[in-house]
Point group: C2
Chain length 371, copies 2
């Protein structure tokens, strides 16, 4: 066995995540570890909460980072909000809708999956039809930014529809947060989760999450215990919300949280709207270049996520070999297609720190040489 | 809101964890983030697996790090191994036995709790009586190193008893791994989990874990799906065990894994037996000094964990004020008592990098000034 320290190469990360992590964030993670109950650490956790409230544009008290990757954030929402036999409508237009279905089933709920083609946005009419057919539905779940296709869905309209029919709205914004407009309070979203390794450009391993008062009420009044001790918000609330001292629940990932704190500061310094605009502008720049290479997009122009560009693999070009060449010869990571799109599309991420002109030039010039 | 980078103080960490993280590990975490499906990263994951097999002294194929703190490792064991209506005997002699009970209940099992006083070791006779009373028991769960009391329990004898009665054995070694002798294969343990922030001295956020072939068989043949998608080993197996390419399950905490890799290398360089001996020797040194201060131990000498010293708070000494003084005036963190021991004991950790002579001198001299 190779018994040496691991020295990773310098990659340019333009896949579906992780995105490039800045020197500032890397340095923050290397600061001395202190105790998770140290008053100074707890103060930093309060700052993270406020910074996350800014990123989500919410005043929700229950806003924090789950101590595990984005998929645990998804599970945290479903484990806490779904009770046995609850009907949950899932607006599925990609890979992550399927995972939501798995979550609902495992927690004893009844998933009602409304399918739209991968790469299309969600059809609101179909959701409303399902609501009429199942008036006892409790929750509607949707994906703001489908990482598997690069399609943007409008959580505001879906949430309005959910509330019109007395449902709660769960939104996946793993790839959305900080990359496209999102206003959790204005849009009245009840539960939302994200990841740190996309447009926030922190290292993976944490899942920012936020719950409305209505969601909290449902969780507090559950008839059955949450089928997870680690993710039970009734326990976690006292850890993140407690004043003047927190009860021990689990040991927080201290150094990862240093990194998230720094990444959120960088976002605050830039300003959310500037971040949204930068993602948009750089997407247009990439698009221009791809057009010159005759490469087309999977998603209609008006529904495209600027931070995740699913593009058709040019005819006659070998998928795997090209990606390997990009990685080995140009230190450039782009993403493969997922699920039904495997072998058909590549996913080029322009997320967070990775969304910049130098990366775009590097990507276009490497692509033109590799294909 | 304070909008500055977070610069933590330099603490000496002698509580129940996290322990001091070395410069080598901190630096490793600051190396450039690469993709979680990058072949070079996957190679590092394979090295981590081999290094964990060394630390656990096992050849178990299913040996890896759960992408979340130790409590998620506990949940991973119970979520996967407990099926509805399974009887699980829990040898409880402290705080973490209670958590095991919570886990068993949430996954639909029937916990049979065998209580021993906090600070005592587990009484094998009581376990055997329970087995005779409940011959349909499926699992026995025990805590190798009770972090709440500093008591050592012998997982070898408990596992032998479990197998004599056709049960699997789950062992919590969150605080045990690398601090006291542990031979997973020789002792035939079926499922075991640990944490990174104790005697391994990596940052918190990951949970090393290992499963025997018998445990894997039980998981593969479950009648009901695991009540967690994030922790379902049937899915995770293909992520950590897949050859020549891994299927995407979740995004691994890349930089935290860099840190764990380095921490495991440090352990390998020192050698497991040397690490066990160092923990023992330093415990004796601390004990000598505490005796001079007339401070006594909660646990009988023969059952004490060298890495976690639960000591009685001297009469007339204020618990909270003294710990605050140690933190503020001496940058020294020691642990409070947990549960029924709150206000009665302190917990002094000598774990991993924190187990050294300089720390012990600093601790004894600070304590003598503060009490």
């Amino acid at each position: 066995m190779n018994q040496k320290s691991f020295i990773p190469p310098h990659r340019t990360l333009m896949g579906p995540g992780p995105s490039d992590v800045s020197e500032r964030v890397l340095k923050a993670m290397a600061r001395p570890t202190i105790g998770h109950l140290d008053p100074i650490f707890i103060q930093m956790m309060d700052e993270i909460k406020k910074l996350l409230q800014y990123a989500f544009q919410t005043n929700n008290e229950l806003t924090f980072a789950v101590s595990a990757p984005g998929m645990a954030g998804m599970e945290c929402c479903f484990a806490n909000l779904v009770e046995p036999d609850d009907k949950v409508i899932i607006a599925k237009n990609g890979f992550f809708g399927e995972r939501m279905k798995e979550n609902v089933e495992r927690f004893g709920g009844i998933p009602i999956v409304i399918d739209d083609d991968w790469g299309n946005k969600v059809d609101l009419n179909k959701i409303e039809e399902a609501l009429k057919e199942h008036p006892d539905t409790k929750i509607i779940a949707s994906v703001h930014a489908e990482t598997s296709t690069g399609a943007l869905t409008d959580p505001q309209s879906i949430t309005k529809l959910a509330h019109d029919y007395g449902c709660l709205s769960i939104v996946d914004t793993v790839t959305g947060l900080a990359g496209v407009p999102l206003m959790v309070d204005d849009w009245n979203i009840d539960a939302i989760y994200s990841g740190t390794q996309k447009c926030l450009s922190a290292s993976p391993g944490l899942s920012p999450i936020s719950f409305s008062e209505a969601a909290k009420e449902k969780i507090k009044n559950r008839k059955s215990k949450v089928k997870s001790w680690f993710l039970d918000l009734n326990l976690i609330m006292s850890y993140w919300e407690g004043e003047g001292g927190r009860s021990y629940h689990h040991t927080a990932p201290i150094n990862a949280l240093y990194g998230l704190h720094e990444a959120l500061l960088i976002l605050k310094e830039e300003g959310l709207e500037n971040s949204w605009k930068r993602h948009k502008d750089n997407h247009l720049l990439l698009k221009q270049g791809l057009e010159k290479l005759n490469i087309g997009f999977l998603v209609n122009e008006e529904d495209r996520l600027p931070q995740l560009n699913a593009i058709y693999i040019p005819e006659g070009v070998n998928d795997l070999e090209t990606r390997q060449k990009l990685l080995n010869d140009f230190n450039l990571e782009i993403g493969a297609g997922l699920g039904v799109l495997a072998g058909k599309v590549w996913r080029i991420g322009l997320m967070g720190q990775s969304s910049n002109k130098i990366n775009i030039e590097h990507c276009l010039s490497s692509l033109s040489k590799a294909i």
